[in-house]
Amino acid sequence: MMPDVVFYTAEVMVNGLMAGVLYALVALGFVLIFKASGIFNYAQGVLALFAAMTLVGIQNGQVPFAHLVNAVFGTKVHHFGWTVPSLAAIALTALVMVGLAIAVERLVLRHLVNQEPIILFMATIGLAYFLEGLGDVMWGAEVKRLDVGLPQGMSGLIDEVTFNWFGYGFFIDRLDIAATAVAVALVVTLTLFSQYSKQGRALRAVADDHQAALSVGISLRFIWVLTWSIAGFVALVAGIMWGQKSGVQFSLSLIALKALPVLMLGGFTSIPGAIVGGLIIGMGEKLFEFFVGPMIGGATENWFAYVLALIFLVFRPQGLFGEKIIERV
C-alpha cells in the first residue's frame, strides 16, 4: 500500500498539468502572432476576456453599448429578450473576432510597419487598454456566468476507478478534462492547417522570412489578418475555458501574465514550446504551492512561474525550443 502523500502528489501533478494546458492555450496565441509578425502581443489576455464577454453578451441577447446609449439618450434598454444557442453564439463571436482582426490590421498594424519591436509592444498594450474599455462599455463590467454546456464538477468515473485501483479517489474536474480535449483538438487542427493548407504554408513562409515571402507573392496584410483571427479564435477558446471555470470578469485578462513565463520557458517562436512550457509551469507551480507554499505564506502562484522561467533563462537564454540567438555586429 502506497503512502497517501504519493497520491496527493500525483493528484496535484495531474491537476497542475490540466492548468498547464490552459496556460498553454493562451501562450499559443502569443506564439502565433509573434512568429507571423514579430509582435509581442500583450493584448492576448484581453482578447480572451473580450471574446468571453462577447460570447456571454450574444448568448443572453444583451444590447451592445446599452449603458452608453442609456446615458446619452436617457433610455432604459438592456436586453433584446432572446437567447442564442451556444454553438450559434460561438460562431457569431468568432466572426466578431475576425472583424476585430481586420480592424487591428487596418487601424493599427498597417501604420506601424517597420517600427521597432518595443513600439509595437507598446501599441498592443494600448490595444489591451482599449479592448478592456470597449468590452466593459459594450457588455457591462459585472461578473458574468458563462455556460456553453461543457461538463463541470468532479468526475465521478475517475474517482471511482482510481479508488478501485489504488484505494484513493482522485479529484479531477470534468471541465479540466474537457479543456484538455479541446486544447489537443485545437493544436492538432492548427498543426494540420499550417502543414497542409495553402494559407497555412503561406503563414509558415511569413514566419520564416518576411521578405522572401513577399517576393513570392504572399500578401503580408492578409497573413496578418489571418494570424490575428486565429489568435482571436484561440483567445475565444481560452476565454470559454477560463470563463466557465471562474466567471467572466476582469481577472480573466490577467491570464496573459500567466502565459508570459510559459513563453519564456518554451521560447517565443515555438508552438511545441508553448505547450511543453505550459505543462511544466502548471505542474511546477502547483507542486511548489503544495509543498513549499504553506511554509512561506502561500499564494506563491503569482511569482513562482516567473522565477522558475528566470532561473531557466539564465542557463538557456532562448528558452527550451526557441531558435538559437546568433548575434553579429
Binding site: 449603458h67 446615458a71 517600427q115 513600439i119 501599441a123 490595444l127 501574465l257 539564465v314
Partner: protein, 358 residues
C-alpha cells in the same frame, strides 16, 4: 525672433557644452524654476497639489529613472512598480525604526536600498536580452509585491496589511502625515525632482551615459570598443532603481500617506511609467517630464469632461477613459513614435528660423 542663436557667442568649451546652449532656452528654464519655487508654493491648494502637481513631480522622477534604464541603456523593464514598492517599504521601515533621523535622509537611503535590489534583479540582464528580459523583470514585479504582502515584518505586523506614514517634520514643518500642508509636500517633491533631473541630465551626457548609449545601440559592438557591459548595465540598473526608489518613497510617504502594496505598486504602475517614457520620448529627460505631465493630466481632464461636463455615470466614464487612453497611446505611437520630445525638437528647429524660414 526670440528663439535664435545669432549674437549668442560662445567663448569657452564649457559654454559650448552647456545643457541649454541657446540663451532664450536658458532664461525659460530659469523662469520655470522661479515660478515653481517662488510662485506656486504660495498659491497652491489641496486639489491642485494632490490631483496634479505632486503626482506629476513623483511620476517625473520615476519616468526619468526608467528612461535611464530603458531609454539610455536599452534594457526594457516592467518592474518599476515593484521597485517603487521597495522604496516605499524601505522608507516605512526606516521611518518607524529610526524616528529621530530626518525623513529626507530616509528617502535617500530608501533610494539606495532600491538600487541594491535593482542590481540584484539586473543581474540576469547580462544573459537575457530584449523581450525575454522585459518578461524577466516581471519576476521582480510579482515577487516583490508578493513579498511585501506576505511577510508581516515589512508592514510592522499591522492588522490591515497596510503601511501608513507617521508624521515627520523638517525645520518644524510636517512633511508627511495627514497634517502636512500642501505646499510643504509640493516643495519636498519639487526639490527631489529638480535635483534628480539635474543629476540625470549630467550623468547621461558624461562618460557613463555614453557607455549606456553604446550598450543600447549595439551591445556587442560596445563591448569591442571597450565598454564593460557588466559595469554599464549594472550601473544603469542601480541608478535607475535609485530614482524609482525615491519616487516610490515620495509616492508613499508624501503623496499617499498610506499604501497597500498590490493596489499602489501593482503591475499597472509599471505600465503607466513605461507609457510615460514612450509617449514622452525614449532617451530624453524633457520627454520624461512631458510624458508624466500628459498621463497625469489626461485622466483628470477626461474625468472632468465626462463626469463633470456631461454628467455620465462614473463607471461608464472610467471604462470610456480606458478606451480613450488606449486609443490615444496607439494614435500617438502612429503619429510620432519618438514621442513628445521629438515633437519638441522639431518645433525648436522651426522656431529657430521663424518667421523667415528661407
Amino acid at each position: 525672433m526670440l528663439y535664435r542663436e545669432a549674437g549668442d557667442f560662445k567663448t569657452s568649451y564649457r559654454d559650448d557644452a552647456q545643457t541649454f546652449p541657446i540663451a532664450f532656452d536658458r532664461w525659460r528654464y530659469y523662469a520655470v524654476l522661479a515660478v515653481a519655487f517662488g510662485v506656486i508654493p504660495f498659491v497652491i491648494n489641496d486639489y491642485w497639489a494632490n490631483a496634479i502637481l505632486i503626482p506629476f513631480l513623483i511620476y517625473a522622477i520615476a519616468a526619468i529613472g526608467l528612461n535611464i534604464l530603458t531609454g539610455y541603456c536599452g534594457q526594457v523593464s516592467l518592474g518599476t512598480g515593484g521597485f517603487m514598492a521597495v522604496g516605499a517599504y524601505a522608507t516605512y521601515k526606516l521611518m518607524t525604526a529610526f524616528p529621530d533621523v530626518s525623513i529626507l535622509i530616509h528617502i535617500l537611503l530608501a533610494g539606495g536600498i532600491t538600487a541594491a535590489v535593482g542590481v540584484l534583479f539586473g543581474l540576469p540582464s547580462l544573459r537575457i536580452k530584449g523581450f525575454y528580459l522585459a518578461v524577466a523583470t516581471l519576476a521582480a514585479q510579482f515577487f516583490l509585491v508578493w513579498l511585501f504582502n506576505k511577510v508581516p515584518w515589512f508592514y510592522n505586523y499591522s492588522a490591515s496589511g497596510q503601511i501608513s506614514a507617521p508624521e515627520r517634520t523638517f525645520l518644524g514643518i510636517a512633511l508627511t502625515g495627514p497634517a502636512s500642508p500642501a505646499w510643504a509636500a509640493y516643495l519636498t517633491c519639487l526639490v527631489f525632482c529638480v535635483a534628480l533631473a539635474w543629476l540625470a541630465r549630467n550623468l547621461t551626457r558624461g562618460p557613463l551615459g555614453r557607455q549606456w548609449m553604446a550598450i543600447r545601440d549595439m551591445d556587442i559592438a560596445a563591448e569591442i570598443i571597450g565598454v564593460n557591459p557588466l559595469r554599464a548595465k549594472l550601473t544603469a540598473f542601480a541608478i535607475s532603481s535609485f530614482f524609482v526608489g525615491i519616487a516610490g518613497a515620495l509616492f508613499f510617504a508624501v503623496y499617499l500617506g498610506a499604501a497597500e502594496v498590490g493596489e499602489s505598486f501593482g503591475i499597472q504602475k509599471s505600465f503607466l511609467v513605461l507609457f510615460m517614457i514612450i509617449i514622452g520620448g525614449l532617451g530624453s529627460i524633457f520627454g520624461s517630464f512631458a510624458g508624466a505631465a500628459f498621463l497625469v493630466l489626461l485622466p483628470v481632464l477626461l474625468k472632468n469632461t465626462l463626469v463633470g461636463g456631461l454628467g455620465w455615470p462614473t463607471d461608464l466614464a472610467a471604462h470610456l477613459e480606458l478606451m480613450i487612453v488606449g486609443a490615444l497611446i496607439i494614435v500617438f505611437l502612429i503619429a510620432e513614435p519618438h514621442g513628445m520630445a521629438q515633437l519638441w525638437r522639431v518645433a525648436k528647429e522651426k522656431l529657430r528660423l521663424w518667421p523667415f524660414p528661407h
